[in-house]
């Protein structure tokens, strides 16, 4: 016969209060997030919610929020740690629920019933239950899984290197409190369940065995009664740590547990971080789990030791509305974005936070001398930075001429700017104004192909400009095309070279294979290390960094790039060349220069700034 009332004990109230608090908090947050979406994004949400996208998002939630597939891809031990905690806990909740429904015969019941089920129903008798893989067995199995993850989490906190992280996130006091609560939840649960099982002579391989050991340690006589006084206090303790965890959860990194799932759904619907949808940006900040994966790839971790500038600290600072200058301390190299397991749009978030700080630039570009009425097939846009490395421009014009291209130099006086520097500094309004002007100008030129030497401009042209009927190529792509069409011929030389992949070209624009192919055509031996592209330190993304820090980043990157002892370092960006030049022991060249040297049959190696200086000193001494 069914009982009229649900089983009850006062300790369940603590859990119920905590759980209700979290529920109400996130319901309120969810309403706010949706409310603060732009009209366009609300429409996207309404149009996609009853489509296949919802199922795809659900699949992604299982893969990412529970199984943490992306972290597994980055680091297996770390992946196991996150998976065991998330998936193990989820399974405990799921199986606990099914078990309580199965035995109580009631589908609708207070949530605490399934959470504290072992207290109300001590389960099958020990040791028989060990050999029958029923509910008790699986509950023990997943509790063990969670405990193994917890052990790794504790190791990570004190010896993060063992989990493959050089550094782990530094935490705020409230994070520490929640972390302590989280660490206590599962051991106390183990003790509480074991004590209950020990007192009743029940349980499976984990709780049953431990309960049996506990009771025999307390009284050598098999009476089972002596554990009884410990049972209730342990369940009170379990309920209290749950309360503590739930009450602190919304204010800590653990807020990502409910938020990340919402983020995955909205992202699947096509919503992206933008100034018009502050709700989505806020949701993104809540979804950061502060896992610390972004810290090691950040080159500023070495260049600015002790400073907390990495993305997880930045996200925290905007989430808590702190007025710091942290948004400026970022080179926008997007190494962190690439590894972020949550897939947060960290670069856009930084740029948007910069908009809040600075005022809208009213930049305009007036007139472009050097253009004549005649239409040419190719328009060459050098870019601001290339004007500081004139040898790249010279080399490019040699290449154009040698190939017999019909080309025109767009900015011979160095007056044009693509607008990306303004965009990176958060001045999207000014950047847009420049974009409108250049766009119209490019289209009016009648050219079919726009070739640029600067990856920063290349990315801007590709991402922001609308140029119908006009193809945009970085000069590495263009040169490779020329070689493939046999318009120019380069000879492979015997030197060893390494390629430095510019952030904006590789990660930023996805131009990865072309420069590498060009490398194989130019040099016999390629010693490019197999690492994710590094930032040279000259980044336009980080206006706040001083020269010392920039040089430190450059030296760090050079150390990695020249580990294979190359004769020359090849890059595809004038800014990288300019940044590496003064600190490099070996010559730094752009692809254009290397190709032009090969075309003209000149010396294959330029001089380093160091050797130039030495020679100058010798001459002065003479």
């Amino acid at each position: 016969m069914q009982k009229l009332f649900h089983p009850f004990d006062p300790f369940v109230l603590l859990f119920t209060i905590g759980f209700s608090f979290v529920g109400i908090f996130f319901l309120y947050k969810l309403i706010r997030w949706i409310e603060r979406l732009s009209d366009k994004d609300t429409e996207l949400l309404n149009n996609s919610i009853f489509t296949v996208k919802t199922w795809q998002a659900l699949k992604e939630v299982i893969w990412e929020s529970l199984l943490h597939r992306k972290i597994f891809g980055i680091n297996k031990r770390l992946g196991y740690m996150h998976m065991s905690l998330a998936f193990g806990w989820f399974m405990l909740i799921l199986i606990g629920n099914v078990e309580s429904i199965y035995y109580s015969g009631r589908f609708f019941k207070p949530i605490y019933i399934s959470v504290f089920w072992r207290f109300f129903d001590p389960g099958p008798s020990f040791p028989q239950a060990v050999y029958q893989p029923g509910f008790a067995f699986w509950m023990d199995f997943f509790l063990l899984l969670v405990l193994s993850g917890l052990a790794l989490a504790i190791i990570k906190r004190f010896r993060s290197v063992w989990l493959g992280l050089k550094q782990t996130t530094r935490q705020r006091p409230v994070d520490r409190l929640a972390l302590t609560a989280l660490w206590l939840i599962f051991p106390i649960r183990l003790l509480a369940e074991s004590a209950t099982c020990g007192a009743n002579g029940t349980g499976s391989f984990l709780t049953g065995t431990l309960g049996h050991l506990m009771s025999s340690a307390l009284s050598p006589e098999p009476s089972f009664l002596s554990l009884e006084p410990f049972v209730l206090p342990l369940w009170w303790a379990y309920s209290s740590v749950l309360l503590l965890f739930f009450v602190t959860l919304p204010f800590t990194r653990y807020a990502h547990i409910p938020s990340e799932a919402v983020l995955i759904f909205l992202r699947k619907y096509g919503i992206r971080v933008s100034r018009e949808s502050p709700g989505y940006t806020d949701l993104s900040t809540y979804s950061c789990s502060s896992c610390g994966v972004c810290i090691d790839p950040c080159q500023l971790s070495d260049a600015l030791p002790g400073r907390q500038v990495q993305s997880n600290y930045f996200v925290k600072s905007i989430r808590h509305h702190e007025h710091t200058d942290i948004q400026w301390d970022c080179m926008q190299c997007s190494r962190c974005e690439k590894v972020c397991p949550v897939g947060l749009e960290l670069m856009t978030m930084r740029q948007l936070s910069r908009t809040d700080m600075a005022m809208g630039s009213k930049s305009t570009i007036i007139g472009h001398p050097g253009r004549n009425g005649q239409a040419h097939r190719i328009l060459y846009f050098a870019g601001c930075m290339t004007h500081l490395t004139p040898s790249i421009i010279r080399s490019m014009s040699q290449i154009f001429d040698q190939a017999g291209s019909s080309w025109q130099f767009y900015d011979p006086d160095g007056l044009a700017c693509c607008g990306r520097p303004l965009k990176l500094a958060g001045q999207s309004e000014g950047a847009n104004r420049i974009k409108e002007q250049l766009q119209a100008d490019f289209l009016a030129s009648g050219a079919e192909l726009l070739v640029t030497s600067c990856p920063i401009c290349y990315r801007m042209f590709n991402e922001d400009y609308i140029l119908p009927g006009m193809k945009v190529l970085h000069h590495t792509q263009y040169i490779l095309e020329l070689i493939e069409w046999k318009r120019i011929r380069v000879d492979q030389n015997k030197l060893t070279a390494a390629y430095h992949e510019p952030c904006e070209l590789g990660r930023g624009s996805g131009v990865i294979s072309e420069p590498r192919e060009l490398m194989s055509k130019l040099y016999q031996k390629d010693t490019t290390p197999d690492i994710e592209g590094l930032c040279c330190g000259g980044s336009l993304g980080a206006p706040g960094l001083d020269l010392v820090t920039r040089r430190a980043v450059a030296r760090g990157a050079l150390g990695e790039l020249t580990s294979g002892k190359p004769d020359v370092l090849i890059t595809a960006c004038p800014l990288c060349k300019k940044t590496f030049g003064p600190v490099s022991e070996i010559p730094v060249m752009d692809f254009a220069e290397a190709v032009a040297r090969s075309l003209t049959g000149g010396s294959v190696l330029p001089e380093t700034s160091k050797s130039l200086k030495t020679r100058h000193k010798q001459q002065v001494a003479v």
Binding site: T364, P543, D546, L547
Partner: protein, 122 residues
């Protein structure tokens, strides 16, 4: 003969800074944020390489030199001129003292926001 004699050259008004009235608060604030600014030797490389400077009458060297000397802060329209800065960072690359001029520019923009709001852009 009374009056000014024309010797074929002119004298201009004294450029001495009136320390009683000079307001160098902007310079002090900026120096706090961009400490490397104190290393500036006013060589003018920044202005020479500036693409905006060749388009409009924007002279970065003159601008921050004036800020340093607290000259004509109210009357000069430098804040609105600064809005023509493209933040391209060329000045930073050519600066022989390695001053983060791009950041300096952003900081001046922020700190002189109130001027820019009253003076229409160029």
């Amino acid at each position: 003969m009374a009056g000014k004699k024309n010797f074929g050259f002119e004298r201009h008004a004294g450029r001495q800074i009136d320390l009683d009235h000079a307001d160098n608060s902007l310079a002090t604030e900026l120096a706090e944020v961009v400490s490397a600014w104190s290393a500036c030797i006013s060589c003018g490389s920044c202005a020479a390489t500036c693409p905006a400077g060749q388009n409009v009458g924007f002279n970065f060297r003159r601008l921050h030199y004036k800020i340093k000397l607290s000259l004509e802060v109210e009357t000069d329209n430098y804040p609105s001129l600064l809005t023509s800065c493209l933040l391209c960072g060329k000045c930073q690359l050519v600066c022989p003292r390695g001053i983060p001029t791009r950041y300096l520019s952003i900081q001046i923009m922020q700190k002189t926001k109130h001027y820019a709001e009253v003076i229409p852009p160029v």
